[in-house]
Symmetry: C2
Subunit: 336 residues, 2 copies
DNA sequence: CTCTCCAGTCGAAGCGCTTCGACTGTCTGG
DNA sequence: CCAGACAGTCGAAGCGCTTCGACTGGAGAG
């Protein structure tokens, strides 16, 4: 391993000078800088992360806590995680992957050991058990998701309330009067995950506003569960002409069922999904959808966190505005 | 931040004693140990990661390089990543998430800075550009996937050749004579990703052995691309009664197409998939499949790496044996 | 022409931990 | 009863880096 001292000797300067060349915290003459940089290159020097962390009290690592749940749509998590990792790199940070397994203890461990400079928490629940710890440890953190009490916290999320409203207004605008919502798995609601409830909130208030009749049913996803849910919905509200789906695992089953029942999309029934763009585009019918901006959320989270670590910016709640893209699955309500 | 020295003072012992209590590298009397442990608890002490890394030359971090490709099935990657993270924790390691973005440089950076003690590379290509670097840096590493030249490397992977053979033999045993393979996206083959070619290899040699006629076609996945691929296959080989699918994104489209054409599964056509268990079970027809043991691969990779880091075990190639589960999508070939 | 200031450099003091060698007593075997 | 072994503890020397204060020489101000 090449050390700073060896670089210094090779370049004929002192160790501190090399350090200042690296950090840019003091001015260095052009000639010295070049000499040092050349030595660094020739010797293939890489600063030792541990030593740096010890001396500077900064690890240049961001911890990312990913939930372990099986009822969340995995590709979205992955997309966020990847976006976090690549954005972090552009700011000189690496990402430590923590799984939910360890639970709140992970917060303590990371904060206590100085392993990471800050953390990003995904899939935050309304009343998340990690939050008290976070507040008391004064660990710089950004949440992806929105807890009930956001005081002293920085959060990034899609504006799910506006998302729900957008879906209903789109369908209302097309003349639909009876709309069913195929929601997330029951467990998601029981956990009080903010986003599901907020979407529902938006759906409901927009329905009230537009005089639409709304029926919401949670759904596990998969063919069998979706078939049961859809059958119940159509049984209860045979006049349903619009579906809002907020469960990626129910999208394709729903389309298959409708096809099977001879209901044409979008002529007889309109479908609007809340899902990643890729799912909407690759479905058997190109879906009108509000996309889940996974990448953007990851990027924002990192940028908020880096701002905090740099002493810029404070607590803030960023709600990304939803965008509805009209594709082939929605159209005017059928005339009776 | 509480330091070792403070714990030592609080417990009335020297710093080194506390260190030995923590590491267990020297014997400590029961009473002293208890006193120290009590102080640690009372003060809420957490060893500082940087200092530890500097002094011991060990970071207790494993780097995981995840590819950034869009043509790989994401949930599998995620499952592996999660399995790696949780298994690593049980061995006292944390996981650093590196995306493919940085490319081979990441290997240099991590090896050079001592950020991680070892690394796990996912989605290794037959002739991966990271391998020379790995060899020369003598960085302890484990690959998930199998490159062309495995000398000096430790690899973990599913035995894809046996997987291919298993699929063909299953269908042959059921009396099928004409089998089509819907493969991964063309890009996957162009990249010379080992697993796709090895599966094909197994399929072909088993076909030769059993006298089966085999037609292989790469396929992007998604409805449109799959429709084109299937149409071409049935055009070229109208007598096809068996399908092997090795592309998660083509599974559901294929089933939908067959249904649409009035071909019943498994009465008219049998389908065998190579995919994660969840996909097989949640498909519209419960699929006979060889499962991708993502968790097991992640776990194995970590355990191999930890063994290396502990100076146990050497270079080794572990090929996990495939297991075929018969479900509702395969049955006897129809009699003509 | 002196005084101040600043860019540019260096030396040294840690950061919090691990680990080696050394020391002290206690126990065992001969 | 003593030599040797060994469990148990301590002090001190780093690990490789950052950063503070101090020093130097030359430029600009008065």
């Amino acid at each position: 391993m090449v050390t700073l001292a060896e670089v210094a000797q090779h370049a004929g300067v002192s160790a501190s000078t090399v350090s200042y060349v690296l950090s840019g915290k003091r001015s260095i003459s052009a000639t010295t800088r070049q000499r040092v940089e050349r030595s660094i290159r020739e010797l293939g020097y890489h600063p030792n992360a541990g030593a740096r962390a010890l001396a500077s009290n900064r690890s240049n690592i961001i911890a990312l806590m990913v939930p372990l749940r099986t009822d969340m749509y995995v590709p979205v998590m992955m997309e966020i995680a990847i976006a976090v990792a690549t954005t972090a790199r552009t700011h000189g940070y690496d990402v430590l992957l923590l799984t939910g397994e360890e639970g709140p203890d992970a917060v303590r461990r990371v904060a206590g050991s100085g392993l990471a400079d800050g953390m990003i928490l995904m899939d935050v629940e309304l009343d998340d058990e990690r939050l008290p710890l976070l507040r008391e440890s004064a660990q710089p953190a950004v949440l992806i998701g929105l807890p009930a009490d956001t005081t002293g916290l920085t959060c990034v999320d899609l504006d799910f309330k506006a998302t729900g409203a957008l879906c209903v207004k789109h369908l209302a605008g097309l003349g639909h009067r009876d709309v069913a919502v195929i929601g997330e798995a029951p467990a998601v609601y029981e956990r009080h995950t903010g986003f599901a409830e907020r979407t529902l909130d938006g759906l409901r208030s927009a329905a009230r506003e537009t005089g639409l009749r709304l029926l919401h049913r949670p759904c596990e996803g998969g063919y069998d569960a979706t078939a049961v849910t859809v059958a119940r919905i159509l049984d209860e509200r045979p006049d349903t002409t619009g579906f809002v789906v907020q469960n990626e695992a129910a999208v394709e089953p729903l389309l298959a069922l409708l096809r099977q029942q001879g209901r044409a999309v979008p002529e007889d029934v309109s479908v609007v999904a809340v899902c990643p763009e890729q799912v909407a585009v690759q479905a058997s019918v190109r879906l009108t959808s509000v996309s889940l901006p996974a990448q953007e959320m990851g990027r924002h989270a990192v940028e908020q966190l880096v701002a905090k670590l740099d002493g810029r910016g404070g607590d803030e709640v960023v709600l990304l505005p939803p965008a509805l893209t009209v594709r082939a699955s929605s159209g005017p309500a059928p005339v009776r």
